[in-house]
Symmetry: D3
Subunit: 284 residues, 6 copies
């Protein structure tokens, strides 16, 4: 069964279609006969993790509901270089008009899923042992889809938004008066389904956070050695999360510390697009 | 004077705010007193080209219209590592709530402008001699802003959308019957303000395109040597554009051929975010 | 300083204005001279907790930006019968056009805040000891504002949405295979900032949930006596939440058990509007 | 045939879905296998008048177009406690995701229809003899649906909005100069398809309104005895409408006067939600 | 004081701006220095009735909030050929970008107001004696503004929409069973603030409609002579409205009959744009 | 196959439906039984060129997806007076509710197509020899559809928007410093797929524009004789476009000059609606 797009992504799809097709497609109008039919193949030009194929389909259908899509894979699967992701059939003019917007989504989302997978591979640790989590550094309008792509790539999601998680940072501490007061406020007045996470810069703050009852402690911009030391100090009293300075070169070192969570902004703010081509062939 | 955001970007800003703040900011509510005031500094953590500072301001104002922003630079300028981009003043809670969404825009757009500049530098040729142009491979919802970022980085814009330029590709040719027929159709029924561009794969097609009266010929996936040969063959009869396989390593070779335009998808589909920090200090 | 409306509520305000003023105000056009000025007073006709005064202001300003509003109270404060909430000044025609939509918001949100307060008073326990929390049974489009109104009335917020909290219900258990498997899945693949809550129907399920490591256990449709028994059984191993069958008559009994949280759908699904009048006087 | 949602309600449905599902459903994702199928039954937990079943269906379909809904009743019908409203079949994950938003609508709209019916029953008079009418005190974004629910409950609609009816209130009179001038202005420049209604506070104003040619006179905040007296005075020269202070206890007294219309804000501003459950059973 | 745009028109303004400026203004970017200032004059190139000047201002402000507008006239006034409507001052680039969209609105709305006035002049009767009314044949998205323009031109508004007036047409009669039954249904179940209008084709139907108690009778596609005869027959028992076949040549004949209302679709469906120029002068 | 509406027009259709049906259709509700079925015929009451039939269908389907539409013609075809455009079948109530909004679109778009054809006929020259082109003077929200209607009527499209074409006008020249500098700037920094067009007022400016390398020269407000002289002067060095003062009386004279393009604002700003009726017959 063809997967259905989550309702939330509809508005951004409409914006993207308006950007590219708001004035029609003059070349296709001038060159392609109305009744010309075509097949299209979506092919991976590099090994990748699939994400966003439902959005690809939705865009095709928005342009022309009679386009037929046959999936050769599904969300979260690995596709090797040269393999097919989907086969499409419909009016040639419709395929040409939908191609770019549909690929713009698919390439980005596969990019995020694939980069997540690369980090996990680079970490040298199974994802269930050390979690690699995303951040709120997402592309405007794409948070839902990018978070799903991270999951599809084997990563984990951090808090959904500023209302769906408590994360006390330096400024919050300063405004509250002290680390202890900030945690106390959150314990007293926070939402009970949310754990309390706090960002610390050093060993001293870590110990104070643990004593104050933090559920999660974010170790900000520490070296793997410092993270390791914090893990020893914490003695399992809280979930520890390493953050800052994580990249494909350093992730292995952090993962080897055995820290519970490593959060990586790059999944959603700097993933390059995957190379995917859409080959259209006219049916004679 | 503080620059005003183009009306077109408003809808996506609203989506981005809804994504992050649609459920409020629980941590800030719990820790930051309503009357706490703060200063904020937007600082480049790497050398970059500024783009999107108007969107940054707009987001601040949407959260809290009383936030004051003082710009230390402007759209298109270079800012060195450690230099200030803007100074912000307002309620601490407002700055904390606006920070992430505002940075998500600014970091992406500076990323696009800065990558464009890197390509120009790597090309070894002045931008006015060989144009580096963007493509339609833009982030959904961000086309207007990303195209502007390319300009700010010293690049050029390709056609705005499928209605704002004629670009005959392989499938159009096939559907029209022949390269010559495709060009003839476009000449006969196209919009007179638009030049006619056609994609060719080899010398033979180039010569046929020139004979048929193409205004621009896109040399698809050729080596610099092949491009050079095409330039010689064309004898100035059309604008020549190299496309495909252009990256930071290869752009120099293409630029040295003296081709008129080099189009680069990476400007808008794979630019990593710039590293920019927003340092907030409470006013005691 | 006049409070600023959260960006998220703008879309629904526009819908409400379109509903009432999309065809203009014919009576006002026919009867009220363009230059007639008026004062308006927003007066509580019953004792209430204020919520949504920022939305009231925003609606006034959308109709006529020159309307001046002076607040006599603020979000979360108690206002007694006959006391003023705000004073408004502007063109008589503008006040008459804005009145109904502005009140429709204010009366509903004060209704939610005030009902929350009534439950707390009825519980006979301080809110910090036993938390009264809202649910996802909110009015379509009003979740942000209604959740804020609950806070203003002294209550607490439950999870923001289906993505901002884990709550395992009977069907999830059945689908996962067992209570233990459901909790295990959530521990293994869930988001680390979220606690794991599970709904149980009896003592046996409670003990199994505790053994499986649930952070929060929702005691579904139990009597206060059964809740009390569960509290004793749990021995503080998890946060306990009573849910179902809570109303103004029964809340006291549940609160007396000392359960950690009592969730009440009525705050947001059945709060009657507060009686608030807007008295307009023309300035001669 | 399954009823189709009116186009106007689509935008608010999207907002409600975004509120609850904008970040996905983490519990369902973690616990419910993709291929698990389920049946769902929508059951009245109290006797009620059905309204909004089309919106319920629309929300199900937006989440998953393959969900099948079979109606057991229709808009405006009475359903007794324990009876089925609809049967639903589809993927278990889809039903769980759609449940809350779909019920939030259905419970509210049934609440409005059912409360309207209760007022009619309490009035002791057939609805065709004394009309019970709604007001503009509707929930933001829900006016269309709430007005329909009032009709389904046996009530009548008052004017659609400020442009779809002329209703001269105290401030309009004051601004126009006098009651007579206000009516004259409306007669002279109003829209001919609209009757002219005016609000009066006492016998004297009633007589002046009748003499000036009002089509409808709203008797504001009068006792049933005063209303009765006005009816005698008016001698059928205008439609008389009682307004203000009408509740389930007082409506009988007002209805017994034989007044033409009784307008009741509570239908749309204070109707409690109906108790409706959605029982999901997995198909093994 | 500069008039404020009604909230309802905002969405269409945004669409119009997106249509013209969604891809920026390349010519202005290339030719006009950022700091060039200019004055602009909005001048009537033909005698016209002003309508929509508030929308003109709003569009200017949306492009650049620092643009200053000074009005030389106001909504509903007559401006002679060569006279100024408004004076504008601001950045030259902003004026050039806003010009076309702002004029597109102003020219259309003045067109509607002016055509309405021409019909009134052609009718040879004062508007207060025979009302010239608009219809629902409005431009998609422009109903609010076009109805206002009709008022500004001296005309009257018919019902606001399908919910804001009862108008029984031939098909309604047929579906109801008979003319009498249709009127009876509407009397029994309609909204009390609405009059009942019915369309008739001949004398017989007119008499039946009057006997059944219609408030307004629309005389469909009759000649002035037939209309006159109907007026005599009706003896003032209902408002009579002539409809169909009314144009600038025939309106005089219909108006001379003394019919109460003449409805004219052309006001809103076929009004040519007024000729208005926007002369920009750079400030040296 | 029934044509599919371009995605871009959806938003305006929703606005138009909200305008007319946002409050339901009271007359149809009161008079038309739910199960009454009907046939409808869309008939041309004058000879016309069809445009927008896909939008007509889309509106029908939005009201009631079970309505069946059979087309008797297609976009761009000529339909004679009395001929059918489409046959529709469905619930009588649905047809009555959809009728007006659907016709409002169809009549306008046929109006634009038909007026375009009248200009071509009046020009006395085949469209392929002298192009008649539209302008940016389009109805707010309707640009996409109106431009398509112009094509359907045999005309040509000018630039899509301010970003999709370079057109240097008097103010741009003045701001740039000189005609030559303006063209030079555009050549140097413009988008390579766009030709450079410049507006000139006289022979001298024409020659300077040609020397500076303009691709297209707009001859502003010249007489046919002046245009003819310019054609002789230009000697084919640029595309020449006549603009200003073109109407149905004068277009022949301009066309006889052999100028390349004649641009006509009236196509989109002053086309009267076509007379089209929708005859509904109940099925007994």
């Amino acid at each position: 069964m063809i997967p259905q797009t989550p309702p939330i992504v509809d508005e951004l799809i409409n914006m993207a279609l308006a950007e590219d097709l708001g004035n029609g497609d003059i070349t296709t109008r001038l060159c392609v006969p109305e009744d010309a039919m075509a097949n299209g193949m979506v092919i991976a030009k590099e090994s990748l993790i699939v994400s966003g194929i439902d959005v690809f389909i939705e865009i095709m259908k928005k342009i022309d509901n009679s386009i037929q899509v046959t999936l050769e894979t599904e969300e979260g699967k690995t596709v090797k270089k040269g393999e097919k992701i989907a086969i499409v059939k419909g009016k040639a003019s419709s395929l040409l008009m939908a191609e770019r917007v549909a690929l713009n989504y698919l390439q980005r989302l596969c990019g995020t899923a694939t980069l997540t997978k690369k980090y996990i591979d680079a970490s040298g640790v199974s994802a269930s042992k050390v979690r690699l989590a995303d951040t709120r550094k997402t592309t405007p309008g794409m948070r839902y889809l990018e978070r799903r792509a991270v999951i599809s790539g084997g990563g984990f999601n951090h808090r959904v938004d500023l209302g769906g998680g408590i994360l006390i940072k330096e400024n919050h501490i300063e405004a509250a008066g002290s680390l202890e007061k900030a945690i106390e406020q959150c314990k007293k007045y926070g939402s009970h389904p949310l754990k309390i996470e706090i960002e610390v810069k050093n060993r001293d703050e870590l110990l104070r956070a643990l004593d104050a009852g933090a559920d999660i402690v974010m170790l900000d911009n520490m070296t793997p050695a410092e993270v390791k030391e914090c893990i020893n100090l914490a003695e399992g009293r809280a979930i520890l999360e390493a953050s800052g300075g994580i990249n494909l070169d350093t992730v292995h070192g952090f993962a080897q510390t055995g820290v519970d969570v490593i959060s990586v902004g790059a999944f959603t703010h700097s993933a390059p697009c995957c190379d995917i081509s859409f080959i259209i062939e006219l049916i004679k």
